[in-house]
């Protein structure tokens, strides 16, 4: 099998503590530093901040057509990992090799504006997430039908309820172009049961069509349904990489919850 994503020794450091913006990055100190350097003196303000490793020495690979799940508690590094693979941010060390075009689904309704109408926001959001105007025109009917919001499409979305706004955004996201590799960062948990069911069906179709998927989610139900393999991140370290049931078991053992019986593990239950 050919691996389409190869992650080798990824580490990502952020700063932590009181000076999240380190002292040397403040304009005053930066100027002082430059002046000192010009005078040939060593500046002490550099490197005085603490480092926090969001990811530490992560290595794994994803095969073509595989669905890989990413498990972990809040703050364990799932989003950071997804963002690095997507090329949104650079790792502090290590490398990622990606064969093929990646797409990231890390939020729905991006770019939407409260003052614009439902229909205008479909264009804006679709366009900002990568569709052309012509493609949106073609898919408009399908998007409207999916959202079940035809009666309020000419109303600014600031007058929508939260649920209506969510439905509008989801409908756009689900009609985006899907690339060779789709990275999904926890966007499926929101939405009602019917919507989650639609998402699940959509992803099953994508996987059958040969799309590689990397899916970060808290929903064990989704993972056990879709993922071939999982990685489990514990405080930025790779605690487990293997078959989905093994990784889920390790995760559940850590957070001390009883693993439901196999037949109870459907996405609508968790």
């Amino acid at each position: 099998m050919e691996s389409v994503i190869l992650v080798e020794g990824i580490t990502k450091c952020y700063r932590s503590g009181e000076h999240v913006i380190p002292p040397h990055r403040m304009l005053k100190n930066e100027i002082e530093h430059i002046v000192r350097r010009c005078c040939g003196k060593h500046s002490a303000v550099r490197e005085s901040h603490r480092k926090f490793e969001a990811l530490k020495d992560i290595s794994f690979s994803v095969q073509k057509g595989e669905c890989l799940g990413i498990l972990g508690k809040n703050g364990s590094g799932k989003s950071t990992l997804i963002r690095i693979i997507a090329g949104l941010t650079k790792p502090s060390a290590g490398s990622v090799t990606v064969h093929g075009e990646t797409g990231i689904l890390a939020g729905v309704g991006l770019g939407m504006h409260p003052e614009l109408t439902g229909r205008e926001n479909i264009y804006i959001s679709g366009g900002i997430m990568g569709l052309s105007k012509r493609t949106i025109d073609e898919r408009m009917d399908a998007i409207i039908e999916f959202s079940e919001l035809e009666h309020v499409l000419a109303t600014p979305i600031k007058f929508y309820s939260n649920g209506m706004r969510a439905r509008l955004s989801f409908s756009v996201s689900i009609h985006l172009d899907h690339p060779d590799i789709l990275l999904i960062d926890e966007v499926l948990a929101a939405g009602d049961l019917a919507f989650q069911q639609k998402c699940l069906e959509r992803m099953e179709t994508l996987i059958k069509g040969g799309t590689t998927i990397v899916l970060a989610t808290h929903s064990i139900g989704y993972l056990s349904h879709l993922a071939d393999n999982c990685i489990y991140l514990r405080e930025g370290r790779l605690a487990e990489w293997g078959k989905t049931n093994i990784a889920i078991a390790a995760y559940c053992r850590d957070i001390r919850i009883q693993l439901p019986k196999k037949e109870a593990l459907s996405p609508v239950h968790l």
Binding site: K90, V96, V98, H99, G111, Y123, I128, G130
Partner: protein, 272 residues
């Protein structure tokens, strides 16, 4: 053959991925359209604000600087004269201010969507064009009211305006990049722009400045541009030496802005 991407912590000192810019070009149109569509929503007079803002400013400036202070404008009625200065200057200040905050203001997009970050400030410079064109149409009304004749020389305004946009883009990129890292910039720039207007011949003709101080104005790329705008209407000789200065300053600003922006870009994600 499918593309292969290698992601490491290596940052090239100069990276401008033209293929990526081209691939994502459709996003510019949507960003500009959203900007324009949203601007005057839920205002009573709506789109009329585009014209009201410069006209009110023109009236106040005429009253204060022409009637009260007594600044003269040989060759042009003062309202037309000051309006010609305000047109490019207002475009410059409003697009620079909006470009500056464009990176920090779109944090949600920055952290969730892959697209060339250059397009965020650029789309602001483009959406401000709509306001400029609307304000520009008022110029013809003013010229008709004050019976200022129109000649072919008015077409000089096209290259002059291109120069205005380029100065704004260069300055805006520089500030957008710097503002994402140092928020100090956001506090300084509004004052700086206000002070800059007084060393730009917006409210007075450059000829009233005594020769020993004129060198100071020549450092300002807007001196040539605004004098050029006025010559285009007054049908006097173009201040070509001033414009040459402006063109050189513009090139330097553009390259510097692009360089600083691209250089700081990898840090945006982790620091905004």
């Amino acid at each position: 053959m499918r593309q292969t991407t290698l992601i490491t912590n290596q940052v090239k000192w100069w990276h401008l991925d033209v293929a990526k810019l081209w691939r994502h070009r459709q996003i510019v149109g949507f960003l500009v359209w959203r900007d324009i569509a949203v601007r005057y929503k839920q205002t009573y007079v709506g789109i009329l604000w585009v014209i009201l803002q410069p006209v009110i400013e023109m009236i106040v400036f005429t009253l204060v600087f022409h009637r009260f202070v007594g600044i003269r404008s040989p060759g042009l009625p003062y309202p037309v004269f000051v309006y010609l200065g305000l047109l490019p200057w207002t475009y410059f200040t409003s697009s620079v201010s909006r470009m500056m905050t464009s990176i920090v203001g779109e944090k949600a997009l920055m952290t969730r969507i892959v697209f060339p970050r250059l397009y965020l400030p650029l789309s602001k410079a483009l959406s401000e064009l709509a306001d400029f064109l609307a304000a520009f149409s008022v110029l013809f009304l003013l010229m008709w009211i004050y019976s200022v004749p129109v000649s072919l020389q008015i077409f000089w305004i096209v290259p002059l305006f291109v120069l205005t946009v380029l100065v704004a883009v260069g300055t805006g990129l520089l500030l957008a990049g710097a503002h994402a890292i140092y928020r100090d910039i956001g506090l300084i720039v509004p004052y700086f722009l206000r002070i800059m207007m007084f060393v730009t011949p917006v409210i007075y003709p450059i000829k009233t400045v005594s020769p020993q101080w004129q060198w100071l104005l020549r450092f300002n790329p807007f001196t040539g541009i605004i004098e050029g705008f006025r010559s285009a209407i007054m049908q006097t000789a173009m201040p070509l030496h001033l414009l040459a200065d402006s063109a050189i300053a513009t090139c330097v600003l553009l390259l510097l802005g692009l360089f600083v922006f691209q250089k700081l870009e990898p840090r945006f994600m982790d620091e905004i």
